[in-house]
Each structure stands twice: as structure tokens, then as C-alpha cells.
């Protein structure tokens, strides 16, 4: 194989099939040649760069199911933007009190904010309004889940190594921004559940030593509850954060395009040679299909499973409360930390550090800081600073995978603790007992699982280092 051959793209398929495809297209349109030809010519005449486009038509994407996880996230983002535009046409970001006059009798006469009123109106009195709202919310839940699975995949396959360290940083930043945007999004309807969450967010902010009360007052616009809070969250949720996400996402995809996607080890693959599916037509078809499938699954769930029924929760009033008060699942780990941490206030002279500061501010910092530093921590551990385009299989490096398993276990226990009262009531357990069990598990389980994973993989380390089909 000469270099020249590789550069053009070696076709593994017999030429005749390709020929048939072109002929078939021509026949389908009833012309001898495809109408794509004048289109391509028009593009080059008015834009230029036909050589570049020619190459990129056959841009190679390595194949594995694990490489679709980022696509789930990307397509959820597209769905969120599309449905979000619809929602924004109805939502009123105002806390001005209005008396409900819609069709839902149990709220008649109740005083609520214009924001809550607009969301109830959209849900119950606008055709397809509830569907779009539910697609939006389901897509948000799946979005963050896909991001986390995608991040786990990056870690256990060591995709963050040179030259993809910066792209990895962009990715972790995206997780943070998306989580924040989700929190703001479900707080917009100003219902009892999300308003309670905002109250807790205020308490967490003011718990920070020295700057806490001032910072909370600045961010929220005064002492909670403030009358402009929803109006302040709104532009952040529909513009500021989505713009930042879109920008970072563009950079993320751009870098991915330029550097090409990593690949699993296999026959004919190396750090220099990439093997996979060409962009046109196979990959483009597949990925477009996947976009529609992601949309279809979100729509199916939105059609048949109710999510966030704000008319049942009622409008937020600071003296109303509901049990089973949790944030959306991706904030569950933070909620769990807050519930598990005992009431250890620290009083030093006149200075009080409230107990909630540690689980709600310090622990998230301890979770995210190492995440950002992973590429350099990896270098410290392995002293491997070389360029890599081939991934590691999870079993090839048992220590890394065991660490990931332990970390995921830690976060999972926190997640379960975040909903411990709901599990208790659903299964008839004693809530304090269950919480106590989780408090022990958080220390015992992660190291156990990590050790178990390590032992399991070390024994099979050799078997994993084979070609992946």
C-alpha cells in the first residue's frame, strides 16, 4: 500500500456496488446524471473549496456503539433547542401575581405568578403544549445521562490523552453547563417543587464563609424570595447558557472533525491509520436516522409517561411544602450529599460555617476538580505523554477502570441517598434506617467495587488485548 492509495481512501468494497448506487440514483430521478452535480458545481462556484469538500465527503468515522453516546447528547441538545423555541413563545418570565382563569378547576382563584400561570396554560389549554413541554423535559433528562455515560466512556478508554486534552476539558465544561442549564430550566415554571429547590440553592450560596450572604444577594437579587428571580433565570436559561453550550459544542465537534475520532485497536488500525465508515453516504444516513430515533424515543416517552405535572404541585409559595421534594435526577448526587452530611456546624468565635457548606460546595468541588485534571493526573500516573489515536480497552488498564468503577459507585450511592425518603415510602422502609445504611455504604461500597473490578480485570488483562470486531 502506497501512501497515495491511503490518502485517497482505499475502498474495501467491490467497485461495482458503488457504480450501481450512482446508476440507481440516476434512474430514480429519471435523468442520466444525478441532480447533485449542478448543485455541487453551484456550491463550488459560490463558495469555493471543492477540493476540501471532496476529501471531507469521505471523512472517516471509526465504528463502535460506544461512539454513538456523544451523538445521543448532541441530538438531545438539538431537540431541546427546537422544543425550547416553542416553549419560549408561551412562557412569561414574570412573578407578577395573577388569578388563574384557565380550564383546570382545582386551581381556580389560586393566586400564582404569571410564569406559573403561563406554564399551566401551556400544559392544559394549548394544543400539543403539554407534549412539547414533556419532550423538552424528557430530552433534558436523557441529555445529561448521555453526557455522563459519554464521559465514563472517555475515561475508561483513555480518550483524553494527547492530542485530545483540550477537547476533553471542553467536554467536562459542557457537562457542568448542561447540568446548570437543566436546573434553571425546571425552576422556570415557579411551581412548589422547583421553588423549594431555589430556596435551597439560596441557602447553599449563603453558607459560603464571608462572601456567602453577599454573593447570594447579588445572584438572586436580594433576600429570597425575590420578585425578579424568574425574570433573571430566564435569559440565562434560554440564551446565555445555550449560547455557551453551542459555542463549546462547536469547538468540541470542530476539534473532533480536525483530529478525527479515536478508534479501538484492531486489524489495520494504528495511531497513523484510521479505519471506519465514510461520511457519505453510510455514516450520514446512520447518524441522521439516529437523530430521528432519539427524537422519536423522547416523543414516545412524552406521549405516554407524564413528567413534571406542575398543576399538581401548585404555585410556589414560601410557606407551602411538599414531601418527596427532589431536584431532577442529575442533581440527585448533590441532594444526597446534603441529606447524608450530619449537622456539623463549625463555630469559630463569631464565625459560623454551616454544615451544608461541606456537602453542597466543597464536595462538588472535590468531584469536579479531579475530573478536569484527569489528563494530567493520567500523565502523572503513567508517564505517557505520547500522541494516541488508538483507545485503550477498559480491560487493558485495570487500575483506571477500577478507579472509574469506584467513582461511579460513590456517585450512585449519593444519587440513591438523594431520593432516600421516596425509596423509603415506596418500599415501606424506615427512612432514618435506610439513610444510616447509605452512610455506611458510601465508605464501604466504592473501595469494594473498585477492588473487585481490579481483581476481575487483572485476571483477564491478556484476553482483552485482542482485535475488537
Amino acid at each position: 500500500m502506497t501512501d497515495h492509495d491511503l490518502k485517497q481512501g482505499d475502498r474495501g468494497a467491490p467497485r461495482s456496488r458503488d457504480h450501481d448506487l450512482k446508476r440507481g440514483l440516476g434512474r430514480a430521478f429519471g435523468v442520466r446524471t444525478s441532480p447533485l452535480r449542478p448543485a455541487a458545481r453551484w456550491l463550488d462556484t459560490n463558495l469555493g473549496g471543492s477540493g476540501l469538500l471532496r476529501e471531507e465527503l469521505r471523512h472517516i468515522f471509526p465504528d463502535s456503539w460506544a461512539f454513538f453516546l456523544g451523538e445521543i447528547a448532541l441530538y438531545c441538545f438539538i431537540i431541546l433547542v427546537a422544543t425550547g423555541i416553542f416553549l419560549a413563545l408561551f412562557f412569561q418570565a414574570s412573578e407578577a401575581p395573577v388569578a388563574y382563569q384557565g380550564s383546570y378547576a382545582p386551581l381556580h382563584g389560586a393566586e400564582m405568578s404569571a410564569a406559573y400561570d403561563s406554564v399551566v396554560n401551556l400544559s392544559l389549554d394549548v394544543r400539543a403544549g403539554l407534549l412539547v413541554r414533556q419532550v423538552h423535559h424528557w430530552a433534558a433528562l436523557v441529555f445529561v445521562g448521555a453526557l455522563i455515560i459519554h464521559l465514563i466512556r472517555m475515561f475508561v478508554t483513555a480518550a483524553y490523552r494527547r492530542p485530545r486534552r483540550i477537547n476533553y476539558l471542553i467536554g467536562v465544561s459542557l457537562v457542568l453547563l448542561v447540568g446548570m442549564n437543566g436546573l434553571m430550566g425546571y425552576s422556570l415554571p415557579d411551581d412548589l417543587l422547583s421553588g423549594t429547590g431555589l430556596r435551597i440553592a439560596f441557602s447553599i450560596t449563603e453558607s459560603i464563609p464571608f462572601v456567602g450572604p453577599a454573593l447570594a444577594s447579588l445572584l438572586f437579587g436580594g433576600e429570597f424570595p425575590t420578585s425578579g428571580l424568574i425574570a433573571r433565570i430566564y435569559p440565562v436559561h434560554i440564551f446565555l447558557l445555550p449560547a455557551a453550550i453551542a459555542g463549546l459544542l462547536g469547538a468540541h465537534l470542530g476539534l473532533l472533525w480536525l483530529q478525527r475520532h479515536t478508534q479501538f485497536p484492531g486489524k489495520g488500525r494504528s495511531d497513523q491509520t484510521i479505519v471506519g465508515t465514510p461520511m457519505v453516504p453510510a455514516y450520514a444516513l446512520r447518524t441522521t436516522g439516529y437523530l430521528l430515533i432519539v427524537g422519536g424515543v423522547c416523543a414516545a416517552f412524552a406521549a405516554f409517561v407524564q413528567i413534571n405535572p406542575v398543576w399538581l404541585y401548585g404555585p410556589y409559595r414560601p410557606w407551602d411544602a411538599t414531601t418527596a421534594a427532589q431536584p431532577d435526577w442529575y442533581m440527585g448526587w448533590l441532594e444526597g450529599a446534603v441529606r447524608m452530611w450530619p449537622g456539623w456546624d463549625i463555630q469559630i468565635g463569631g464565625l459560623l460555617i454551616p454544615a451544608i457548606f461541606w456537602p453542597a460546595v466543597i464536595i462538588p468541588g472535590l468531584i469536579f476538580t479531579p475530573l478536569f485534571l484527569v489528563p494530567w493526573l493520567d500523565w502523572v500516573a503513567t508517564r505517557d505523554g505520547a500522541f494516541h489515536n488508538v483507545l485503550l480497552l477498559p480491560g487493558q488498564h485495570p487500575a483506571r477502570t477500577a478507579l472509574a468503577a469506584g467513582f461511579i459507585t460513590f456517585l450512585s450511592v449519593l444519587l440513591v441517598a438523594g431520593g432516600n425518603d421516596v425509596f423509603a415510602i415506596m418500599f415501606g422502609w424506615s427512612q432514618p434506617t435506610f439513610l444510616r445504611v447509605l452512610q455506611y455504604l458510601i465508605f464501604l461500597l466504592p473501595p469494594l467495587i473498585a477492588l473487585f473490578t481490579y481483581v476481575l480485570l487483572r485476571g483477564r488483562a491478556r484476553r482483552w488485548a485482542t482485535t475488537v470486531r
Binding site: 407524564q306 404541585y313 427532589q326 435526577w329
Partner: protein, 288 residues
């Protein structure tokens, strides 16, 4: 209550009648209404007039829940000679209650009875009395009390007034009840291993009894926190939530909020990952 409370708006019902005809029709209708308004007093003054339609006095309905104040009706309705069989609720009512509450429960010295939705709330009121109401414990037998309670809650109660109570009932529910029983009535875990039950599973009478008397870990709300009107309002709201809260969005998944919703979201993600596995599968290995 089987009557659905969520009524989707009818959309886009444009009349086929052309505009000019519509205008003429409207004018005709206005003429009829105006003449009726002028002629009405003539009808009202005849001796053989039918009973006026059951309308709660504006003061009675608008007065805030929890207050004992009300404005009595302008003129009392004359007591009808009761032709109901002795011992029936109607007879008991006519002989003991109509003097204060009006012949049709529209209110006079006593408040209007239109919002009285539940026999199990009326009965204790009758036996124990209220703020200005004497107790009838020694006067009426238990049979009479339950008969008149049934009569009041079935015959005299006005569905419109009851529906008007549901909103305030919801407000009270979220202030006092949702903290233990959750906003959807699914129940919740409290401290010391105690759990507040799912209140949607109980028939209204039992839920009311628990609210009035207190039960288990639940404090008594009657006489302490809620007066009869408030108890009715809360009970009516709980009825709205039972057996399942209004769920136009689909399956409710246990009505416990974001926890089960997150679990279901995980199923959606899993589904998509399985699709990805299917998508990326190759019948032949990667060739070079």
C-alpha cells in the same frame, strides 16, 4: 368524582353563518334578553311563584374560609309545610334547620349550606354545634342526624359551590397537608421511621375522619386548624386527587416526582444505547 376537571378548550369553531346574519341574530337575541329583564319583576311578584333558583348569597360564598361571619339573606323564605315522610332528612331539616338556614339551605341567620359536600362533616356539626349554632345532640336521634346530614350533602349542596371550594382547598392542602402526604397525595417519609400514607387510597369519609380526629401520627385538624368550611374544601381537593390525580400527560409513575421520573429517563437512555449497539453492528469484521 367521575366528572373530569380538565376540560380541553374547543379550538377553531368558526360559525358557517356569514357575518351579516350573525349580526342580525345577535340583535334579536339582545332584544329577547332585554324584554325578559323588564318582564321579570312581573313574574316574581305573583303569589304562586316557583322557588327561586338555588343561589348561594354572594356574601356567603365570598367570605374567607375560616371566618364565622356572613351576611344573612335580605328576606327569609317562608317555611314550607313539609309533605315529606316523618323521619326523612327533608322533614328533619324543615322542622329543625330551615328556621336558621333557610327552606332551601340558601342561608338566613345561619350560613348557606351550598358548600356542604360531605355527610360526615355535617353530622358532627349538627350534634356538637358550631360558633353560633346550638348542638342538637340531645334533640335529634342518631338516625335523624344522619338522615339530615345525607339530605343536606346530597340535596341542598350545590355542585358549583363545591367546585368553587376546590381551589381554596388546594391552597390549604399544600399549606398543611402536602408536607406529610406530598402534593400529589402519595404520602411521604417523616422522621423516626414514620411514614405518612397515600391518602388517595382511602374513601372520602375515612380521609375526613382522619383529618378531623387525627390518626396515628397525624394531628387533629378539626377545631384546631380547620373549621367546617376548610375541612370541606380540603376534602374536596383530596377527592380531585383520588384515585389518581389528573394526568393528561400520560402514566403517572407513582406520582413521587423526579425520583421515578429519573429512573424512567434512564430506561429511555438504555433504549437508545441498545439502538446504538444495533446500529454499529457489522456482519463482517472491519477490513483494511
Amino acid at each position: 368524582m367521575s366528572r373530569p376537571l380538565v376540560q380541553p378548550r374547543v379550538w377553531g369553531s368558526r360559525s358557517a353563518v356569514p357575518a351579516l346574519s350573525r349580526g342580525l341574530l345577535a340583535a334579536l337575541l339582545a332584544l329577547v334578553v332585554l324584554s325578559a329583564a323588564f318582564a321579570a319583576p312581573a313574574f316574581a311578584s305573583t303569589a304562586a311563584s316557583p322557588a327561586p333558583p338555588l343561589q348561594p348569597t354572594p356574601a356567603g360564598v365570598a367570605s374567607p374560609a375560616g371566618s364565622g361571619s356572613f351576611t344573612p339573606a335580605a328576606t327569609p323564605e317562608p317555611l314550607p309545610t313539609s309533605t315529606s315522610p316523618p323521619g326523612s332528612g327533608a322533614r328533619v331539616y324543615a322542622e329543625n334547620c330551615a328556621g336558621c338556614h333557610g327552606a332551601r339551605g340558601e342561608g338566613y341567620v345561619g350560613p348557606p349550606l351550598a358548600p356542604a359536600g360531605f355527610a360526615s362533616l355535617v353530622a358532627p356539626m349538627v350534634t356538637q354545634g358550631g360558633i353560633n349554632m346550638p348542638p342538637f345532640a340531645g334533640v335529634l336521634s342518631d338516625q335523624d342526624v344522619s338522615a339530615v346530614a345525607e339530605y343536606v350533602s346530597q340535596e341542598l349542596a350545590d355542585p358549583a359551590a363545591r367546585t368553587a371550594q376546590v381551589g381554596p382547598g388546594g391552597d390549604l392542602y399544600r399549606l398543611y397537608c402536602a408536607g406529610c402526604h406530598s402534593a400529589t397525595g402519595s404520602g411521604g417519609a417523616m422522621a423516626k421511621g414514620r411514614n405518612a400514607p397515600n391518602i388517595r387510597q382511602y374513601p372520602p369519609a375515612e380521609a375526613l375522619a382522619a383529618m378531623i380526629l387525627g390518626r396515628g401520627n397525624m394531628p387533629a385538624f378539626a377545631g384546631n386548624t380547620f373549621d367546617v368550611r376548610q375541612q370541606t374544601a380540603v376534602a374536596l381537593y383530596v377527592q380531585v386527587l383520588s384515585p389518581q390525580p389528573p394526568s393528561p400527560g400520560g402514566a403517572g409513575i407513582a406520582y413521587f416526582g423526579p425520583v421515578p421520573e429519573g429512573a424512567v429517563g434512564g430506561i429511555a437512555l438504555l433504549l437508545l444505547i441498545l439502538v446504538a449497539v444495533w446500529l454499529a453492528w457489522r456482519s463482517r469484521g472491519a477490513a483494511a
